[in-house]
């Protein structure tokens, strides 16, 4: 009880000190600069190569319109359907990649023998870009849903597995020795030392994983798929509905950011010891 209370207090303290610092306000300055560059270059100065770009006002009017010209805005259920389907694919792929990648990475790092069997194969497959998998994914899986989930899963899986393995290798041998000395069995050492010791790397892996998941999702949705944010961008391009491209992009950015933040929050929650370490002894 007091532990979770302390966790809560720490989080509140960090949020309030963040709000008191200049950081959040500098963030608005950054956004302002980019948006005004967009506005001036397209609408005011009409720079060469920029004239075909959708303008800031056009995009935002479309995005927040109750009766959008191209049929997609925050008021249309269609918009949320696309988001929902993309999110569902991300959720399936990310959860599957985590559920398979973390244990595999742990065992690869833990067992020399397993590593000798699997790691060379793994290293050969890992550099193959997701786009190169597209034809095979379409041939292997039926329908339009599974190939996209498979492609999204793939890159995530490699990132998670590799980082988890590196995490296990990064653990100081002193900790395992100490555990053995104190009478822990091999399995207990795995559970109490290897898993928590690899946790910081695992969460680094999951951060990368969620990022590449969005990346591969869009690649997959552009090629195969009937819904989703990647699909919107691709279709809008073909149909010359350029403002929709930008709406799709901004939405992707927003959800990418939110999912990353959720992974980071989960990491902070599970690694209180590390949060406190980084907060320099604050409690």
């Amino acid at each position: 009880m007091s532990q979770s209370n302390a966790t809560m207090n720490l989080t509140m303290y960090r949020i309030s000190s963040w709000l008191k610092s200049p950081k959040p306000y500098l963030m608005f300055v950054g956004f302002g600069l980019v948006l005004s560059f967009w506005y001036f270059s397209v609408e005011v100065w009409k720079l060469p190569r920029f004239q075909d770009m959708p303008s800031l006002t056009e995009v935002f009017e479309e995005w927040f319109s109750e009766d959008p010209y191209y049929g997609l805005s925050i008021y249309t259920p269609e918009y949320y359907k696309h988001i929902g389907i993309s999110l569902r694919r991300i959720a399936y792929a990310f959860c599957l990649a985590t559920a398979l990648g973390v244990p595999l990475g742990l065992f690869l790092g833990w067992s020399q023998k397993l590593r000798e069997y699997i790691f060379p194969l793994f290293e050969l497959l890992r550099p193959i870009p997701v786009l190169a998998w597209v034809p095979l994914a379409i041939i292997m899986f039926s329908g339009s849903e599974t190939p996209v989930i498979f492609l999204t899963f793939l890159a995530s899986f490699f990132a998670t597995t590799l980082n988890t393995m590196l995490g296990v290798e990064s653990i100081d041998e002193e900790y395992s020795r100490a555990a053995y000395c104190l009478g822990a069995s091999r399995w207990q050492t795995f559970v109490h030392v290897v898993v928590p010791g690899a946790m910081p790397y695992i969460f680094t892996g999951l951060q990368i994983s969620i990022g590449v998941a969005w990346f591969s999702l869009v690649a997959g949705e552009m090629v195969s798929g009937q819904y989703g944010l990647g699909y919107i961008i691709n279709t809008a391009y073909i149909m010359v509905q350029y403002s929709q491209i930008i709406i799709g992009m901004i939405t992707l950015g927003l959800f990418g950011y939110v999912t990353s933040a959720l992974v980071r929050l989960a990491g902070d929650y599970m690694m209180q010891w590390r949060v406190r370490e980084l907060a320099l002894g604050g409690d």
């Binding site: 020795r177 104190l182 009478g183 928590p196 590390r274 409690d283």
Partner: protein, 282 residues
């Protein structure tokens, strides 16, 4: 408690250890023999980098000697065992556990009675002055506190033999002296067999019942000094004690000789330095 403690005397007989093979072979320990007597605090001191840590690896059972044998209570050492507990140079407190969970780790891992071990953990934390820090993580403790927490984590297991490899290295002088007192207090509590390795002469003399002085590389035993200054010892009294100072002079002379051996690589400058040094010492 029990009046007849099982003997867990450790005997090293003609132990040698060579690392690598062929032209890269390096002999670290050579024909080394010594005894760690049961129920005593034996301190091993030698020039730094002289292979003491390699010896600890052998006694702990993490490594095997190239030749010779090491036995504990008559049985040969062929791997790590519950009877020996090693406290290493670096802090090996689990960073993801609080002080309390770290101290309780051994009893929990072995599935021992929770109530009894909790009482013991509370007693030990009080003894090393950390009862207010039981819910802190290691990173929130100072270096000296971490070493104390580690002492408590080791002591709670009541190991037959406790092996400490320069456990207070890197602490400032004040914390070091405090640690000596905490540690000696804990040792005097139940007088188990303790083997303590150090390069610090004051530390060695303050703590030891028996002092093993090692040679330079490859390591063997140079001499053994029994220190029968009564316990509990007091740091200031030790500084004024003639007996302690005589031992200190003797140990220093021996250690200087050994340290100089590694210095004199044949260069004239080193020889001059050695000369000047021995004149001053003489």
């Amino acid at each position: 408690m029990s009046t007849t403690k099982k003997s867990n005397e450790i005997i090293a007989a003609n132990v040698s250890k060579t690392f690598g093979a062929g032209p890269f072979a390096k002999e670290v320990i050579k024909d080394c023999s010594f005894t760690i007597e049961s129920g005593k605090l034996t301190v091993m001191i030698g020039p730094s980098g002289c292979g003491k840590s390699s010896l600890i690896q052998l006694i702990a059972g993490f490594d095997q000697p190239t030749s010779g044998s090491i036995t504990i209570g008559g049985r040969p050492i062929d791997g790590p065992g519950k009877d020996r507990l090693v406290l290493f140079q670096e802090s090996a407190l689990f960073p993801w556990m609080t002080t309390w969970d770290n101290v309780m780790y051994g009893p929990r891992a072995r599935g021992e009675d929770a109530a009894a071990s909790e009482a013991q953990a509370e007693f030990l934390l009080k003894k090393v002055g950390l009862e207010a820090f039981r819910d802190k993580f290691p990173a929130q403790l100072s270096g000296g506190m971490q070493r104390r927490a580690e002492l408590a984590r080791a002591m709670i297991n009541k190991p037959e033999v406790m092996i400490l490899d320069e456990p207070f290295r890197g602490l400032d002088h004040m914390s070091k002296e405090l640690m000596w007192e905490y540690y000696a207090g804990l040792y005097e509590e139940d007088r188990n067999t303790n083997f303590f390795v150090t390069t610090d002469i004051d530390e060695a003399i303050f703590l030891a019942d028996r002092l093993l002085i090692m040679t330079n590389l490859p390591t063997s035993t140079r001499s053994v000094i029994e220190i029968d200054i009564p316990r509990p010892r007091n740091i200031e009294a030790m500084a004024d004690s003639k007996q302690a100072n005589d031992i200190k002079t003797e140990v220093m002379t021996l250690l200087h000789e050994e340290a100089m051996k590694s210095f004199s690589g044949g260069s004239a400058a080193a020889a001059d330095f050695l000369d000047a040094y021995s004149k001053r010492a003489g």
